[in-house]
């Protein structure tokens, strides 16, 4: 069933509409320590998709009745800025942002040493400033770095990518037309670029064989993102001092 406005082909001669190979990322950018008034912060971009994350806390948790006696309460807030999409979006929470906030928090709770800060709240705010697919992946990548920037103890960094299917081919880092008119969108996140999946959401129809292939591609993609995140974290503190 073709949607209104769908391009005839998403893949021409092995190249995607934006010129990428099937397993090629859009240019990625990662920067740490960008919001002085947050404890820790970072941006992460896949091409034009740009996410900004800031951490506040650990800080006192109110009301006291909601405090957890032995660990910090991790709260994630994901938003899409109204100007992030071509048509103005409605500001504030939506069911989609609620769900994404939830799966991001669940992913991160696997790596944070929550017991180090009993009775407090640890708040992570993520905003998508520009959206061109893979938004939750960019947000999670930014949040992971922001937590490290804030001095929050973690087992490792969490890295996230999207894998899709366009014109029957498996593609890495879904974007633009592939997101709107492609058949499948699989978002995953792993810990430390390894085989531990802490986030997985899939829409579309795939066979078991395709699922197997997509998992492999996604896993390697996450490892590539992990390297980017680590490099950005190192860069934060190895800049030369200007005399």
């Amino acid at each position: 069933m073709a949607k209104a406005g769908a391009p005839e082909k998403l893949i021409i001669h092995g190249k995607r509409l934006d010129g990428r190979k099937l397993d090629e990322f859009r240019p990625m950018k990662a920067e740490v320590g960008v919001i002085p008034r947050s404890e820790g912060s970072a941006t992460f971009s896949f091409g034009e998709t740009k996410a900004l994350a800031g951490v506040q806390g650990p800080r006192p948790m109110h009301p006291k009745g909601l405090q957890e006696p032995t660990r910090t309460k991790l709260r994630c807030y994901y938003f899409m800025a109204p100007f992030a999409t071509s048509e103005r979006g409605r500001p504030g929470r939506s069911r989609r942002s609620t769900e994404i906030s939830m799966v991001v928090a669940e992913a991160l709770s696997n790596v944070i040493f929550l017991e180090d800060y009993p009775k407090t709240a640890l708040d992570i705010f993520m905003e998508i400033l520009q959206a061109n697919a893979s938004t939750r992946c960019a947000a999670l990548n930014a949040a992971s770095m922001a937590l490290a920037d804030a001095g929050i103890p973690m087992r490792d960094i969490v890295s996230s990518v999207s894998v899709g299917k366009a014109d029957g081919e498996i593609v890495l880092d879904v974007a633009g037309a592939e997101d709107n008119f492609g058949d499948v969108d699989l978002a995953v996140a792993t810990v430390g670029g390894g085989d531990a999946f802490v986030l997985l959401q899939m829409d579309g129809i795939i066979t078991m064989e395709e699922f197997k292939k997509m998992l492999e591609i996604a896993k390697h993609g996450c490892a590539t993102v992990y390297a980017q995140q680590k490099a950005a974290l190192m860069k934060r503190y190895t800049a030369e001092v200007s005399e």
Partner: protein
């Protein structure tokens, strides 16, 4: 304390109620229970009970699908189902449940939405599925998805008066055309739960409290995967993900058979 006990059982390949790890509780599907709805079903998985009701009305189509009907899925965690449910706006959990049921139906095009057009580009049928929990003894997700699918199968399209721009009613009852919804696919959701290295299905409430991780997988009649959602905390390896997918296909067939 209870969590430890549940974990021990699962790790020893047993369960509190004697089931096997890959065994569902008794599945009952009762279609047409709600007379005021265009389609409805009550589904029980053991003691877990949910009701799904469908209301249909005419609406303007979404801008990017001008010649297709609409699908909306909502879920309510009614407080009588579980002492932990509080009254108020939808919680994250209920939003997730609704959205995952929605994706299972939408992604495989279970409803032939192109056949739900009343006036092309202007007026289409909107299918609104509301799922309410009646008793929560674990695995609400699978029960909800099954109830939604059963309600879709039960659903009959109302009569519509194009001139008066309203659904035809006699007193307060909607008049039916008697025609069923155009359905193309029968997606079924199976949530696979993990404790230690063990994967199991249809967790009871106590087992849900002891989980390491879970993933909900929607499958189609021909054994393909059409929606997936890893929920809750925890880690799944790629080997576990593939094993879970296979389990979901096999158990999905059983649940589909229960739809009748």
């Amino acid at each position: 304390m209870k969590n430890e006990y549940m974990r021990k059982l699962i790790l020893a390949d047993t369960r509190a109620d004697g089931r096997a790890l890959d065994e569902f509780r008794e599945v009952k599907v009762q279609k047409g229970a709600i007379k005021t709805a265009e389609g409805s079903a009550i589904v029980t998985l053991g003691n877990t009970k949910v009701v799904a009701g469908i209301k249909m009305d005419a609406a303007t189509p979404y801008p990017d699908t001008p010649n297709e009907g609409n699908l909306v899925v909502d879920a309510e965690f009614v407080p009588f189902a579980n002492p932990e449910f509080e009254p108020g706006p939808p919680t994250e959990e209920s939003v997730e449940l609704a959205r995952v049921v929605d994706r299972g139906i939408r992604e495989c095009h279970a409803i032939d939405t192109e056949k739900l057009v009343i006036v092309p580009k202007e007026l289409v049928w909107s299918v609104h599925i509301d799922i309410h929990t009646i008793n929560d003894d674990g695995n609400l997700q699978d029960a909800a998805a099954l109830a939604a699918m059963a309600a879709l199968q039960d659903c009959k399209i109302p009569k519509y008066d194009v001139e008066k721009k309203q659904v035809v009613k006699v007193e307060t009852f909607v008049v039916s055309t008697g025609k069923p919804l155009p359905l193309k696919e029968t997606p079924v959701e199976v949530t696979v739960f993990k404790i230690g290295g063990k994967l199991f299905v249809d967790a009871a409430d106590e087992e849900e409290d002891a989980l390491d991780a879970r993933i909900t997988i929607a499958t189609t009649e021909d054994g393909n995967l059409c929606a997936m959602q890893k929920g809750g905390n925890g880690i799944l390896t790629s080997e576990e993900l593939l094993r879970a997918a296979e389990l979901a296909v096999v158990k999905g067939k059983e649940l589909r058979a229960a739809l009748g």
